[in-house]
Symmetry: C2
Subunit: 429 residues, 2 copies
């Protein structure tokens, strides 16, 4: 029973323990508390086995018993301010965010666009300003890629001096991952031609605030996409229907939704979001501006606050890791607050700039534990501890708001404490 031996403190097991022959180990650990004995009597029929079910709908939605698996809304009545919808990571599994639960931030609601009338214009420092309908874009070669989108303000509560007691949805729910399909922006720019003076482009949305961001031309020519489809179907209204700019691995706000215009220019426009919200002042007095990359990060979703451990024994610790720099190369997990670490298994295929599910088996002895995860990416970057990122960026005096300092690009470690009662809480460790 070699695999039953812990490979790190407080009961973390080898990630390979369950690749083959693992369930017996779980059974050995738990004395069959996971499954119960089956009765020798024939199965009783439940009500749903005794009558026809509900009609197959034209468009399926989750069961009525899953009503709690929804985005949490910051402004459900649509008052004249920003609306946030956060992804319930603790209630999901795998690597994809289903479209109904992809996070949304909309500054004046979700634009309700008629796709027949919507146009995309590419102009400014180009040789041939062009106008694209959806029909025209449909004829270009399509590209697909799975990639995450993350708000620059995701995880901002962890800049707080005291750990805020909230779910992983509230703390990290402004990041999601989907398969996006559309037209490579480089292909469209090849058709317009690019004036050599152009160094940036300004992307503008068709929403009421006409949200705009400046994007370096190099990114536009690298892996940027005019995304038209999300997990196979047209973009969700809150994710930019009928088209958005997709900049894999870069700050969510730059992935301009309801895209209507790309203007090639010599210098950034210094628009609202790049000169205010995403330009906080650092402790050294400099502005944290034009820092586009969403850096390597991970957090544990199972267990996490709100999910109870009901009894000692076997559990699987799992979570999500991602990096705007490329593929995740390694995730380490600790059950003793960072004193010792076990390597997690990564779900294959590990894709560049996409969510990667990590898993590690754990034999919880029923005592206190502090769970942490820490990720590495293929570019050699390591997720900082909270202390490391606070040292550079500072710490909020109280609960931060999106516009408070510091509130952007937290990618440090998250720590969950497990009590002897099996409750999970947010701690700094």
């Amino acid at each position: 029973m070699k695999n039953l031996e812990a490979v790190a403190g407080n009961g973390l097991l080898d990630r390979r323990a369950f690749l083959r022959g693992g369930a017996a180990l779980a059974a050995a650990m738990t004395g069959y508390t996971l499954a119960g004995p089956a009765s020798a009597e024939p199965l009783a029929d439940d009500p749903w086995s005794r009558a026809p079910g509900t009609n197959v709908p034209a468009y399926g939605v989750p069961s009525r018993f899953e009503k709690s698996v929804v985005r949490t809304l910051s402004n459900p009545n649509g008052e004249p301010r920003t609306q946030h919808g956060r992804t319930p990571h603790h209630l999901l599994q795998g690597t994809y965010t289903p479209n109904g639960l992809h996070f949304v931030i909309s500054h004046a609601g979700d634009a309700d666009i008629d796709p027949e009338k919507h146009r995309l214009v590419i102009h400014g420092l180009v040789k041939r300003p062009l106008l694209f309908t959806l029909d025209a874009l449909a004829r270009y070669p399509m590209v697909s890629r799975m990639t995450f989108v993350e708000c620059g303000g995701n995880s901002a509560p962890l800049f707080s001096r005291e750990p805020i007691q909230a779910s992983v949805q509230a703390l990290h729910g402004l990041a999601s991952c989907a398969e996006w399909t559309g037209v490579a922006l480089s292909a469209l720019l090849e058709e317009t031609g690019v004036d050599p003076k152009a160094k940036w482009l300004v992307a503008e949305g068709a929403d009421a605030p006409a949200l705009s961001r400046s994007v370096p031309l190099a990114k536009a020519l690298d892996d940027a996409m005019i995304a038209l489809y999300q997990n196979g179907e047209r973009l969700m209204p809150g994710n930019g229907y009928p088209m958005r700019l997709l900049l894999p691995g870069w700050e969510g706000n730059m992935n301009v939704k309801w895209l209507r215009r790309l203007k090639l220019v010599e210098a950034p426009a210094m628009s609202y979001y790049e000169s205010r919200t995403y330009a906080p002042i650092l402790p050294n007095g400099k502005a944290y501006q034009f820092y586009f990359l969403q850096e390597v990060k991970s957090f544990i979703t199972h267990p996490s606050p709100g999910l109870m451990l009901k009894a000692p024994g076997f559990y699987e610790i799992s979570g999500i890791a991602y990096s705007g720099n490329g593929r995740i190369s390694k995730v380490m997990v600790s059950a003793d607050g960072g004193q010792s670490w076990a390597q997690a298994a990564l779900h294959e295929p590990v894709l560049s700039k996409a969510f990667t599910r990590f898993r590690v088996p754990w034999n919880w002895n029923g005592g206190p534990a502090v769970l942490q995860s820490r990720a590495w990416d293929e570019a050699g970057n390591v997720q900082p501890t909270r202390a490391q990122i606070i040292a550079v960026r500072g710490q909020a005096a109280k609960v931060p708001r999106v516009t408070a300092f510091p509130s952007q690009h937290y990618n440090g470690v998250t720590s969950w404490a497990i009590s002897s009662a099996g409750a999970v809480s947010h701690v700094y460790a």
Copy 2:
């Protein structure tokens, strides 16, 4: 402009033509008919740019302008017979089927199961009969895999003597692909223990018909899964909520939904579906029974019937390929009814037993064309022509029904004719 040269008859271009520098080629071919010139005037504001949009919902659904992107229903009023909901492949892109549009076949509606009360029992020729709640299953190690599910009767209309004029949704809409997450069945069987006499298991659903199928134990111990999540969220009601048997690459009907029981036995149960629906008589008098594998297959989704070509010039031909035997290794596309072939580009990563999107650039000269695709898998199997499969399985006297002979496991080539007017029709070629 070497890449502009056709690599196969009737205008098929090299699949690499658009990896770099492709849009200019499209422009050269079309004389800028794809995009129009942009006006020098400032953009006019559409109505949605002049007022706040709609509120962010707790669970997102597609835009009201996408109401036609739905499953077609064979029995929308839930009369006491089978209900089919077919996936609109011609309106989707990428490789994943969004959950709302995954195909569904339900023989007595979608069972409306309370997950707190649902149980899975594994019994019969086991050492320890066990009973699993959803809470218990949640503690086991989880596995995720992207895989297709396809009804054995998908594509049955192609057994008809005359090509049926219908969309790719009507012809091939009983196949879909998702990322499924759950518990490996092998892990649960390790916990129950398996009596050496057991060679099959009978899987039974909790729906009113108690649909049951016999599954060889070897498949159960290979890659079978008790699936709990579909593209990240809990299974859709029509796809087996709260749990289904997943047998990657095998006939959809065997992937028993609303799973409540697995009984290990010595011999197959000869249940309704395996002894009637999926046991048609072949021309040689033998029964086509216990033939579980969904073999290598492909079809073109863009263009396809219902999608018009509006003018000569550049188009991308794309479609879906898959094989229950493993990865797709190659897809060839013809624009001249199979006289010549060009190799298609495959979307990476190519995953085993999953949808693979293929693409090939095409310069349509405005004349008649017949588009076909043909797929190979890594096991060396090649998708048969229609003539080849008809020679073995026979041909229906008239439009086949699910119970008509022959109606199962059509995996031959599909042909779309393009008229000079740009209309797409179904032909045998």
